[in-house]
Symmetry: D2
Subunit: 138 residues, 4 copies
């Protein structure tokens, strides 16, 4: 699934490129968009009392991005068991250059305990499988 | 009361100066410090169910600040009635240059309603007056 | 001119509303969009060696905004002499509620000196007047 | 080497915990502090025309951190060849709980090319070895 982010002036730093911490925020933007498109929007998940904390995050910065550029983020799942969810992000500049690859790892929680989405909310769990493009090819 | 903030790399922008939005965050840092010193720390206020929302904010940027500099923020009250609280901030560079003057306006709220701190929590209200230096000279 | 911003999760704070510092960033987003639409995009202005620093900023927060909401920012000029530029922003929630009114004040600079855009770059200066809707009614 | 960061209100999100993107910023704060203590402050490095870009970043979030807490970041090098620099960060809450482990990977660059600090600036390179505590035990 493809999400687009336009680079803002306030995201640059004194090297005149995007500050590396912002990519972690763009990952969140892309993830929120992904869940919305899948039919399990974050707002609705939170209303159900489910949290989806970030357990791990990693980024490889391959090419610099500058103010005014639009970055396309290809967001997919590399793992989704209903207990854990691994999301991968490939970020491209307008000319097709890969500028960042990233991953975030999550679980689902409810009432302070790890939640098995597959068992407790199968109707939410199923939505992720409606489009095979939601997953990284293996 | 004087609060110090060291400028971080991630606070700079492509003009190689501090991005102007960060001063609003430094105002919050200084305000939190101020309330702590006064004896009414924000964490404790929030535990009492009291919110202190920001109603207005304004900044005048007088001199640019750069990465690595330490800014001293002189924070005082210009108005404090127990219903409203106006906070003023004078920010100085290490060489004494005034780099920003700012103001934020707040009220106190509880259970979704405006709270009169003077009437409901006189013991908290009184703390602000223990040191006349907490107020701007008039 | 109307610019839209979708509220991101990372823009919220522990009061579960948008942190007030983000509105200053949205003002910049709207201003960049405005200059682009006018035909004087910021990237091009900077390439000409012109800077457009922020001299003052002020916000009045009227209604809280939450994660997932889309804010529409009506951005116009209240003053534009070629030496100074005052920008006003009216921010609305999807239901039409006014949530924030704001203003930013700017000048133009080149080679460390204040620049008279009208005199030095009349072709850029003129672009702002092509659409009367760029200005606040007086 | 130990660096301390006090959690700010603007660093929290609607889960009432620190937003995960901020840890990447704290890593930068700790790294800047580390280089300063080592005797190779970032400002000075940049003045020499040397850049130290972030190539990779990764974080494991182990325990939530809240507003008002002070996080102690133990920052050390896991690899330092003069061409590449790997920095590791162990973050602790005041009660000693490990809340985050992280790593960032960097190289040195000058005039757009990768720089061998050991060969070109041996006097800077050497500074890192003055204190064996700068390195992770192997």
């Amino acid at each position: 699934m493809k999400y687009q982010h336009k680079v803002q002036y306030y995201e640059t730093d004194k090297m005149a490129i995007v500050h590396h911490s912002n990519y972690v925020r763009w990952m969140e933007e892309a993830r929120v968009f992904f869940l919305e498109q899948v039919g399990a929007p974050f707002e609705k998940i939170e209303e159900m009392g489910i949290l989806c904390p970030v357990l791990e995050v990693s980024c490889k910065y391959l090419n610099m991005v500058r103010f005014g550029e639009t970055v396309t983020i290809d967001v997919r799942l590399s793992e989704f068991s209903g207990v854990k969810m691994y999301v991968v992000y490939d970020m491209y500049k307008a000319d097709g250059t890969l500028c960042c690859t990233a991953e975030s790892r999550h679980c689902f929680m409810k009432d302070g305990k790890v939640l098995n989405l597959k068992r407790k909310y199968p109707e939410v769990y199923q939505k992720f499988f409606e489009d095979p493009e939601n997953f990284v090819d293996k």
